[in-house]
């Protein structure tokens, strides 16, 4: 077999241009098709949940007494219908995912007030490791906000973006083919076994609560070790600038509309809740939150508020099964006392 070489050939200029332009056209068409596909089938469970919560907000009852905003620990921990049953107060769970942090809370509350007027109580619930998250990590989820908020998403979210932030956001928003959300790869890597994922985490009831079953004791133990390390690392800067601005915005909204702002601690696994590092962190972040939202109620922002066995959780701050009802009871009692 002859060892091949390289033979450069003369090409018509039109042919070269056609080839190179065609490659760009193919990419643009594929990107457009994929963007359309993602509109109907979001493969990322977290994004799907957030989209559903924003849809719920647009079609929400207007006589809500308690509006819950926060992350996934709240999504599957606070049962708004049960809260109503316990207290006679109507509640709505609009909690999404940690990666949207308090920016999403402020945007949702603002949007809710704009549509329905202010609820008497706004309840914010995040796990500890959301508070230190900076623009960089939060930014990756902003593209899933509704189109009406996208015109000036950074200003509305209170983010001062870097060039990198802006590029990431534009890619996530307009170039899903190249976005970090590698959902297309989940299809190409396993085309024969691929199914559109379904998850209890984003199957919500009419009041936004996701009932999740299936504890993961081993996972909780691993998560505990990881999270304790994270708590240590975050102690020097427990509240990011992005979250600080959003909390201040929540304070401003609640003051302007005469709503009571509450900060509630996530349900915690017992051993994790008792750790000295976490207690130190909660003290540090409480002080900073209080500074940003001096009118807020912090009575329920304590690690010992609601503690559970690992057998009732899927991570150190996500309850499953009946534990969600118990957590709801504790919060309901605490808030209405």
């Amino acid at each position: 077999m002859i060892v091949p070489g390289e033979k450069v050939q003369t090409q018509p200029r039109a042919g070269i241009a056609t080839v190179l332009l065609s490659a760009i056209v193919v990419l643009a068409a594929a990107n457009f098709a994929y963007a359309s596909f993602l509109k109907s089938v979001t493969l990322n469970g977290g994004y799907r949940l957030a989209e559903k919560k924003w849809e719920l907000l647009q079609d929400a009852p207007d006589d809500i007494d308690y509006l819950f905003v926060g992350d996934s620990s709240c999504n599957q921990g606070l049962d708004a219908a049960y809260f109503h049953e316990l207290t006679g107060k109507r509640a709505l769970n609009l909690c999404t995912i940690g990666n949207m942090a308090a920016i999403d809370d402020a945007l949702m509350v603002s949007e809710f007030i704009g549509r329905y007027g202010a609820p008497p109580h706004i309840v914010v619930l995040h796990v500890d490791d959301v508070w230190p998250r900076d623009d960089e990590s939060i930014n990756s989820a902003l593209h899933i906000l509704p189109s009406s908020l996208q015109t000036n998403v950074f200003a509305q979210g209170g983010i001062t973006p870097t060039l990198r932030n802006r590029v990431h956001y534009l890619i996530n928003r307009h170039l899903p083919l190249y976005a970090e959300n590698a959902s297309l790869q989940t299809i190409t890597r396993a085309p024969f076994s691929f199914r559109i994922p379904t998850s209890a985490h984003d199957t919500i009831d009419d009041f936004g609560f996701a009932s999740v079953e299936g504890a993961d004791e081993a996972g909780v133990r691993t998560d505990r070790t990881r999270r304790l390390r994270g708590v240590d690392e975050a102690l020097s800067a427990p509240l990011s600038e992005a979250n600080r601005r959003s909390v201040a915005r929540l304070q401003q909204l609640s003051r302007e509309h005469d709503a009571q702002l509450h900060f509630v601690m996530a349900p915690l696994e017992r051993e994790f809740a008792q750790s000295e590092q976490l207690r130190e962190f909660v003290e540090a972040v409480s002080a900073e939150l209080l500074e940003a939202a001096p009118d807020a109620d912090f009575r329920l922002f304590r690690p010992d508020l609601a503690n559970f066995d690992a057998a009732e959780m899927e991570s150190v701050d996500h309850v499953v099964g009946e534990a969600a009802q118990r957590f709801t009871e504790i919060v309901a009692t605490g808030l209405t006392q």
Binding site: M1, Q9, V19, I24
Partner: protein
Amino acid sequence: MLFNSYVFAAFFAVVFSLYWASKSSRRIQNAILLVASYVFYGWWDWRFLSLIVLSTAVDFAVGNALGTSTDAVKRKRLVTVSLLVNLGLLGVFKYFNFFADSFADMIGVFGLTADFATLNIVLPVGISFYTFQTLSYSIDVYRRRMDPCRDLLDFALFVGFFPQLVAGPIERASRLIPQITQPRSWQPDEAYAGVFLVIWGLFKKVVVADNLATIANAVFSDPQGHSGLNILIGALAFTMQIYGDFSGYSDIARGISKLFGFDLMVNFKLPYFARDPSDFWRRWHVSLSTWLRDYLYIGLGGNRGSNARTYRNLFLTMLLGGLWHGAAWNFVLWGVYHGLLLIAYRPIQGHVDAFCSKWYREAIAIAVFFVFTVFGWVLFRADSMEVIAGMVTNFSFAVSGQTLGWAWLLLYLSAPVVAVMVWQQKSENLLAPAYAPLFVRVPFFGYLAFMIVVEGSRMNSEFIYFQF
């Protein structure tokens, strides 16, 4: 600075614009390329620029002194200075700790302790490539095969030319210096070929090599934890990874060079279609294999003496070729293995050639030698004898979900490369895909662009050969 990074894309755009904006002056163009080359290299660690400058200064001075001297003894001394400086740099920065550790281990066997400390030496990126490149210059001038370069700027660019500085091709002075000293003009056909090489190289690196690395890394880091079938897939994945990684780098380097008006030597000529070891080394890392042939094998006597002498020369050349890759025993073992393959095939070379008279028989010979090649990569990649033993003695053929997933990934990523390789081989032109009819070329380029965007690794992982 990596070819597969945004920083490099911006860097290239700036250098490319300045370079062609200065096309009226070759010297300004060369100065731009030299500054760009030093910035490119200094991006890793600016301190190691001093080594390139030292190598440049010594070989420039040696070359010029050789050009004016007719005294045989003096000429020999001069070329020895070049050899000592360049091999000395390699010895200190690449091999000192390896030999010190190995010596300590060896005398430890006899119950003795070596009482010296190894140095905490960082390996400068690409040192093996540019030292071999400058050495070829000194030796060629010494052998009167070329005139010395009288212009320091031109010579410095020959040593530091950024597209091939850190991982080759190891250019010959007699090929590259004339291109540096001549005016360059924009050649659309060459530029188009360059664009194809960049895209194809990028595909092989970020789509094929970087994704298959996940399989290879998993298997080679824990062979005991995998079935024999997984290990086979892991070995094949590394076989494609190293080809995609290194030939991808070479293609990008050559493509970029074409965009600046330079033509670097072809470094890979479809090596996995080799039917015997000699054929393999005519196709794999051609710039190194021809360097070793011209400056080492022939220097040792080549095949001019007895069979035994030829075998010795082959063995030593491949041993040193293996060691060139890195200061570790697995590379030595790989070099020895290829030396032995060359020796084993040599007496039967005529039979192999005769056997390959029909295409299907040649396909069998290629398949057989491919098995040897894959085994060679196991020796190359494994970092201990335990890993090698664990891989070659595992005959369990349990099929798990992971096996199927990896098999699919290997097929999904490698099949297009193999198909293009067949295309290139059949047309005997490595640029064949760039000249296919439009109805083939348009979807082909579209496919490459799509895969780079969708499947390309975002990790900006380094090229394997940077460590050599």
